[in-house]
Amino acid sequence: METRFSFGGDDHLVGECSEQMSFEAFFKSLAAMRAIREAAIDGVTELCGGNASYMVRFDPDVIHPNDILREITVIDSVIDQSEPVLDTRIIEVPAYYQDPWTHETMMNFRERHQDPSATDLEYGARINGYDSVGSFIEAHHKSPWFVSQVGFVCGAPWLYQMVDRDRQIQVPKYIRPRTDTPQLTIGHGGAFSCIYPVRGAGGYQMFGITPMPIFDPAQVQSYLRDSMVFCQHGDIFKFKPISREQYDEDMVAVANNTFTPKIREVHFDLREFETNIDAYNTKLSGVLDDN
């Protein structure tokens, strides 16, 4: 897997690990970011991780673009030999599927959808070969997801489903983007799920909503005191389906700043994962069942 480099103007260098999304490309991006951070190159101002790519921001007054290209190329070229392992955290994310708020929004924008006569979940279930919305929802929360990129606005996560490619859910985005999406909508577009950190425009199909804030500029939520953005590149998310009652209960906790997501440290090994994905996921998600 050879990374393609290109400059974004005179102060960004972008490395594309692969044109297509894959666990390998994502891991290469993670490893490159780690190695570049450790190299502590003078003039590097910020590293932005991508799904299958990464971006280095630099100050050309400190380091010449040719020099940074040379240094990053060398670092990148030795990544392939490194072990595809990751020490990260797994987070249980409550998911209220088929909630009334995303439903109302989707009805307001039905004419922008591929199939105005179906809901986003009905459409997603059908084109992915599921016989019911229920089994489609189950597929969405049964396996964990990698936070394969963070950004867009206010720390939105791109979520890459941790199953083999044949089973990964894929849906097109709305034909024309909506001008509104409820805050904390769980959406899906292309091969990625996401959570909308704030209310706003959006084109992803809407499957549900989470009560768990992932962006808090006032930093009043206990788990957001260190960073107003919750998601980190390389996190693992596991959705837990919840009822309306549980959603309301969680929302009270959020209002009182007492909501605490379940978070556990985990070690991930891509080789073991790919040997037996389902068994590995069961073990991985099992750490969330310990209390």
Partner: protein, 323 residues
Amino acid sequence: MTIEVLKPGLATTVQDLGRPGHYHLGIPIGGAMDRLALRSANLLVGNDEGLAGLEVAFLGPQLMFQADAVVAVTGADMPILLDGEEQAPWTGFSVRNGQVLSFGYLKTGARIYIAISGGVDVPPVLDSRSTYLIGAMGGYEGRTLKAGDRIALGAAPASRAGRCVPESLRRMPKQPAALRVLPGLYWHRITADAGQHFFEDEWQVAPEADRIGYRFRGGRAIEFVDREPPFGAGANPSNVVDSAYPYGSIQIPGGLEPIVLHRDAVSAGGYFQIGTVISADMDLIGQMQPHLPTRFVKVDMDAALAARAERKAILAQIRSTLD
């Protein structure tokens, strides 16, 4: 030590030089779109260059001063009125407690920067007072100003009115505007022909032009090289697997209308980019009005670095002029 907002203008926000370092989380650098104009305004009133001032887009506010201050207005050409009396642009002037600062209609450019001795004092968020509207953070309660707002000022430095940035050091877009672009990123996605006419065509700034990005229309559609869509990219030929967007990068969704990302950029997404506006020309975008004819000018890295050095030299000259 406050200013009362009598009328807010169209989109007036508190901005400084931004909050670098959080773009990887989707929190953009923000800050003044025209950095050179804000720096100049601050220097004119005796402030540090990076203090917060007001960025005013298209339509000026009406501000009642409740303290004596030195004020400077830079950037776009918009008549500056103090109790109705016209003041010189790019020049520090004294304002007394009780006086009202207002503005005439915008002539050229798009944004003025108002610096006040002492700077605008709002609580810093992630070490910056810049307003990030989508995140409803920073600035004055995370939003554009409204009538009735009372803006606090910092402790004023010793400063004097009357200093001026000479016209030769004021940078504004020409007509048509020229934005220098380093081709790259996903340049290989488009045909050679498209790569040529992108730079030949005259574009106009579209009405959708704000702190996040500037959209352009009027040029020919961009044709793509055929491909099998890579897994995860999406079926449209303008789609790529979502990746980080450089500031200034030019995406062209569907091959139709180029969008140049600016200070409040969305940090990542799934549209290919044809290249990037060079750092030296980012300020100019902040001064472009809707409908302004615009040409994209192809440059190489050496030219981009030379332009960067030139812009730095202008700033150095402004500093020494006002020292």
